[in-house]
Structures are given as C-alpha cells and as structure tokens.
C-alpha cells in the first residue's frame, strides 16, 4: 500500500516546517496549508489527503472549525484528523475530541510521539478503506441476488426468459448476464432416452442401410 498523504495546516511557519520534516522523514508525502481556510479547501477537494494535522489556533478558520466542516460532510471515508495544540488542559482536549477530532498532539511536537500517533491514524484509515471496499463488494453481490429474486417471465414451451428490455433470451444468456453463473452443456438421463438415443439409433439404422446397399 502506498504511504498516505498528510496535510499539515499551521499558520506558524517554523512549526509547519518542523512537523512536515518529521513526517517526511517517516516516509509520508506532505502537503501544507498556511491557514484554516486553505486547509478546508484542500480537505474539501475531490481527492483529499487521508490524514490531516491541524493547528488548533489559526487566524480565520480554527482547527476545530475545520474538523466540524469535515464531519458535517458525512463522508464514507473521512480523513483522520489530529489537532495540534499548545493547550494541554483536559477540558480543551475533551472539547477538541468531542468536536470530531480523532486525536491530538501537544506542541511543540515530540517526533516519536507524533509519528506514532500518525501511524495509528494511517492504520485506522486503511482499515476504514478495506471495510468500505468490503461493504461495496457485498452491496454489489446483494444487488445481483435481488436481480435474480424478481419474478421472471419464462416461455412455457421453449423456456426463454423475457429480460428487462422486453426481449426473449435463452436461459443461459440471461443468467450469465445477471449472475456469476456460467453454463456447461450436458444432458440428463430422461433427455438421453427421449432425444439422444433415438438420434443415435437413427444414425445406426442409416449406416446399416448404407452397408446393405453397398453389399447388395
């Protein structure tokens, strides 16, 4: 799996550079935002980074406000958000986490702690992605099952099936298109007696007649 991209949003350039360098050293591709507005624009884009480190206190949009906006989008795979904060009172931390942040790191960031927390985030994002894939696969399978559960009009004589477009299709064609079933052709004992045996016998008779004619 490719390393996940991390957004570092901080109006304070020294901290932004240091945090970014720590992440790059650990192998994460990093993008930067110098304030909350730009952080939001990046996170609201079509291909947002999987992880975001947001400074709590930025001019304009603050970290917790960016988090709120992300949460209100109700994404299936939202970014994992860590707040960077100089505040270490537990009341503030509780407020940040209640507001929708996944974790927090106090500033100035300790390299080992920061990377450990980011890798927890990466693990969560990867689990989330794997889970979303599983759900999508199951939903697709379920849709197929549903397609086969509907009432199928079938010709009483030739056993063709009328499809959604009002055309009559062979059973094989219909099921191949609407399920993972594929067909291999054979015959059952009844049909052997009814169709195959008479044909074989007719062939045999024809050959005998030919033989007789050649000799006679």
């Amino acid at each position: 799996m490719l390393p996940l991209q991390v957004l570092v949003a901080d109006d304070e350039a020294v901290s932004r550079t240091v945090v970014g360098a720590m992440l790059k050293k650990a192998g994460y591709p990093v993008i930067y935002a110098p304030d909350g507005e730009q952080a939001w624009r990046i996170l609201d884009s079509d291909d947002p980074p999987a992880l975001a480190l947001l400074d709590w206190e930025m001019p304009g949009l603050q970290g917790p406000e960016v988090v709120q906006r992300i949460r209100s989008k109700h994404l299936q795979s939202p970014p994992y958000v860590i707040l960077l904060t100089a505040r270490d009172s537990s009341a503030d931390i509780v407020r940040g986490l209640r507001g929708g942040a996944d974790d927090y790191v106090t500033k100035p960031a300790n390299e080992d702690e920061l990377i450990a927390r980011v890798s927890v985030g990466a693990r969560v994002v990867q689990l989330q992605t794997a889970l979303a894939d599983r759900v999508r696969n199951l939903e697709e399978a379920l849709a197929n099952v549903k397609a086969l559960q509907t009432l199928l009009p079938m010709c009483a004589y030739c056993k063709s099936i009328r499809n959604d477009q009002n055309y009559w299709e062979k059973v094989e064609t219909y099921f191949t298109q609407h399920s993972n079933v594929s067909f291999t052709h054979s015959y059952c004992p009844n049909c052997y007696d009814r169709f195959v045996r008479p044909e074989l016998e007719a062939l045999e008779d024809a050959r005998a007649a030919q033989e007789k004619q050649r000799r006679g």
């Binding site: 901080d10 109006d11 304070e12 350039a13 020294v14 901290s15 550079t17 240091v18 360098a21 720590m22 790059k24 050293k25 206190e57 001019p59 100089a86 500033k107 100035p108 390299e111």
Partner: protein, 119 residues
C-alpha cells in the same frame, strides 16, 4: 531562569537529524524561517501592546511561543508563555515582559547565526 539554556541542544540535534540524505538541511531551513518570521510577529505584538489590543497580544505571544518551542529556544519560550498568560487573563502588566522578549530574541539570534555559520 539563568540556568535555562538559550537554545536546547537536544532539540537542535533532533532538528539536524530530520534531514533526509541528499536533501537540503532541515535545521538551517527552520532556523532561517525563524529569523524571518519571529521579528515580524514581535512587531505585531509590540503594536498590539501599544494599542492595548489584549487579544492580539495573546495571539501573537501564542504563535511566538510555538516558534520558540519548536527550535528549543527555552528562555524565549518562557517569556512568550508569560505574555500569553497575561493576554488570556485580560490584564497586561508592565512592559518588562515585552522588553524581555526583545532581549531573549537577541540572544537566540546570536546562537542561530553561530550555528548557521558553522554548518
């Protein structure tokens, strides 16, 4: 506070080790940014102080504290922390702390220039 170092050598060597092989020096990069950014924010803080804008003093002190913390400028960090606390309490005391800010930054700048010249 006299036994507190101007620059914490453990933090400085931590920054030095952030440079990946073949990349530009992270420590030099960070220190240069510090020398550009911090005086700008100190000006903002002094202006806010002169104007009596307590919230702006707090905000500037907060981000200066962040910059100082990141390079291990521990004495400067402490001055910023006290200024921020004053801003939060809403009562600005005498200008001693604002003066101390300039003094401590001067000391940090000397150390930084020494580091940058040696590398």
């Amino acid at each position: 506070m006299s036994d507190v170092p101007v620059l914490d050598s453990a933090v400085v060597s931590g920054l030095r080790e952030l440079t990946p092989p073949g990349e530009p020096d992270v420590l030099a990069d960070v220190l240069n940014i510090f020398l550009v950014e911090v005086p700008l924010r100190m000006d903002r803080l002094r202006n806010a102080w002169a104007a009596g804008d307590i919230e702006e003093v707090r905000r500037a002190a907060h981000s200066l504290k962040g910059s100082a913390g990141n390079i291990g400028a521990r004495r400067l960090y402490e001055v910023c922390r006290q200024l921020e606390a004053q801003g939060t309490s809403g009562a600005l005391a005498g200008s001693a702390l604002v003066d101390a800010l300039g003094v401590e930054f001067g000391k940090v700048e000397v150390e930084i220039r020494r580091l940058l010249n040696n590398s």
